[in-house]
């Protein structure tokens, strides 16, 4: 179970908690007026590849991309297409991803399946921050890319890339399981092009 423990005294005040959370949401909203640029260091043409390390790179990348473990992040309808992808017909376990980790500390992929609202945004940011490096994010569905049908609403974040950096975008409303598997394949190709020189030891 993903509990978020908050130790406090027995006579905590519910209104204080509500006010604190409201302030967190407003602060995050002010800080997120521009989208975070997508991580694209792998496109760098002039990276110098050290001959000694290419096979190490290949080994590491192969092991990372073949066993991505996603973390639970299921706000809305796309969650059910993700669950059916993980079920027995469109098996996601053939790609090494059958264990959907409840705890972000043991995961390295976040598939954001659903609309993000400003009230939920600090929690998503927190889960993302708790994931250890290296980590990747797939934005699944129209609501995750740009707000979808709800973009004009007063409480919807226009796309997850305001809050967290996104690697792969999968369009659709909801995307079919085949589309999700194609997107995961693209992410695996992206991972295979990483190099520990440019990205560091993470």
């Amino acid at each position: 179970m993903a509990f978020v423990f908050r130790v406090m005294s027995t006579n905590y005040s519910k209104t204080e908690l509500d006010k604190a959370e409201g302030r967190a949401v407003e602060l995050l909203k002010e800080r997120s007026q521009q989208p975070i640029p997508d991580p694209d260091k792998w496109l760098d043409e002039e990276l110098k590849r050290n001959i000694l390390l290419t096979s190490v790179d290949a080994m590491l990348n192969w092991s990372r991309r073949s066993s991505l473990w996603p973390v639970v992040c299921f706000p809305a309808c796309c969650a059910f297409e993700f669950i059916t992808t993980a079920a027995s017909r469109f098996d996601i376990s053939r790609f090494g991803m059958e264990i959907i980790r409840a705890s972000p500390r043991q995961a390295d992929l976040m598939i954001t399946a659903g609309t993000l609202t400003w009230k939920m945004a600090p929690q998503v940011r927190r889960i993302y921050d708790q994931m250890p490096e290296p980590k990747w994010v797939i934005a699944m569905g129209a609501c995750a890319i740009s707000g979808g049908t709800f973009v004009q609403s007063y409480s919807v974040v226009p796309g997850y890339n305001r809050i967290i950096p996104v690697d792969v975008y999968i369009p659709g409303c909801p995307p079919r399981p085949e589309a999700l598997l194609y997107g995961i394949g693209m992410l695996q190709k992206k991972i295979s092009k990483r190099s520990i020189i440019t990205e560091g030891r993470g």
Partner: protein, 367 residues
């Protein structure tokens, strides 16, 4: 020796591994026993009611898909019924029968996930839900044949349905209807007298009859508490008067009764689909309706028996192309009213089971 203890607040946070969505409970625990609980919702509030005031009546149909995303056909049907009541638009017979077939298939699909998620919470980690998703895929194949989509169908239109069924649909539906009761019997064989399910769900989370009526519960939650109230019989819409079916009710109002009511409702849905298939007439599927509808000034409340409860749409019109007020009576939100009473006194693990047995969908609670 008495150990000094004090209650401890644990946040069962918006992100949790059961499939019910972003629902948060601030529980006060004394050891393992729940002493107090406060639900916090609103993490999926997308402002659909406000957005709908800026779109025409037909453009609002995709919004209704995304409310209870596991039962999109039922949501569409409720909204379209409300608009037809407001504007006085007739519906051809073939369309009515097709609507009933789709709504009942959707009820089976939604209950499969509801029961599967409940069993997931009880501890049968993935086995029942994988079996039920296998059946649900058959239903989603049928829906894909009809309208091309697997989850958010946008199939009903004001004045009928959007397109007629292809030729392959009826033979495939026939095959499905023959096979489905066997699958429900398979689930019953594995689960109905299962010791673990009985120990975890029988007598847990009781909702008494008077409280259920007082909190305006509806759907399987109300029926499991002993109230025989189903909108398909009490206030029939579409062509439900012409079919014979029973309404399963429970007696104790605990989690096990809610589970049994859903399983029995699936059987009754298969019965209704068989009757509808035999009586399906020929004809057109959509009456002549202009693209932009100007309903007369007034208001209407249209409601149906959705899988989660009584889903109603309250529309106010001022003779323009968009609704003046679009309100959704969400069954999941109202069924949650008594969650606190149902949970106090039980342990944390039971709290999860009780919450799972109400079977809510956050898209509907938060709109």
């Amino acid at each position: 020796m008495a150990i000094k203890t004090e209650p401890f607040v644990v946040n069962i946070g918006p992100v949790h591994p059961s499939t019910h969505g972003v629902f948060r409970m601030r529980t006060t625990l004394d050891g393992e026993v729940v002493v107090d609980m406060e639900p916090v919702i609103g993490y999926l509030h997308r402002g659909i009611e406000k957005l709908a005031e800026g779109r025409t009546y037909t453009q609002n149909i995709p919004f209704t898909d995304r409310l209870d995303y596991l039962a999109s056909m039922s949501n569409n049907l409720a909204y379209v019924l409300a608009v037809e009541k407001l504007a006085g638009i007739p519906v051809p017979e073939r369309a009515e029968y097709l609507r009933v077939i789709m709504a009942e298939l959707q009820r089976i699909a939604s209950h499969l996930i509801g029961v599967g998620a409940f069993l997931n919470d009880c501890g049968a980690f993935m086995t029942p839900i994988l079996y039920m998703i296998r059946e649900r895929e058959k239903i989603l194949d049928l829906f894909e044949m009809v309208c091309g989509q697997r989850l958010t169908y946008n199939y009903m239109r004001i004045g009928g349905v959007s397109q007629d069924i292809p030729e392959e649909f009826l033979p495939a539906l026939d095959k499905f209807v023959k096979v489905m009761p066997g699958y429900i019997d398979e689930y019953d064989q594995l689960l109905a007298e299962n010791e673990i399910l009985l120990a975890r769900a029988k007598g847990v989370g009781i909702l008494p009859r008077e409280l259920a009526i007082n909190i305006s519960a509806s759907g399987p939650v109300l029926r499991a508490s002993g109230v025989k109230w189903d909108i398909r019989k009490a206030d029939p819409y579409s062509v439900y008067e012409r079919f014979q079916f029973d309404i399963p009710t429970g007696s104790a109002g605990d989690c096990y009764d809610r589970y049994r009511v859903r399983i029995e409702e699936m059987r009754q849905s298969v019965r209704i689909i068989k009757q509808a298939m035999e009586q399906l007439p020929q004809g057109e599927v959509r009456s002549e309706v202009p693209h932009l509808i100007h309903p007369p000034v007034g208001e209407a409340y249209g409601h149906i028996e959705a899988p989660k409860g009584e889903l109603g749409f309250y529309l106010v019109s001022d003779n323009s192309i968009a609704p003046y007020r679009f309100h959704i009576r969400a069954p999941s939100l109202i069924n949650l009213t008594a969650l606190r009473e149902m949970m106090i006194g039980w342990k944390v693990a039971d709290a999860i089971v009780i919450f799972g047995s109400i079977d809510i969908c956050m898209g509907e609670v938060d709109r």
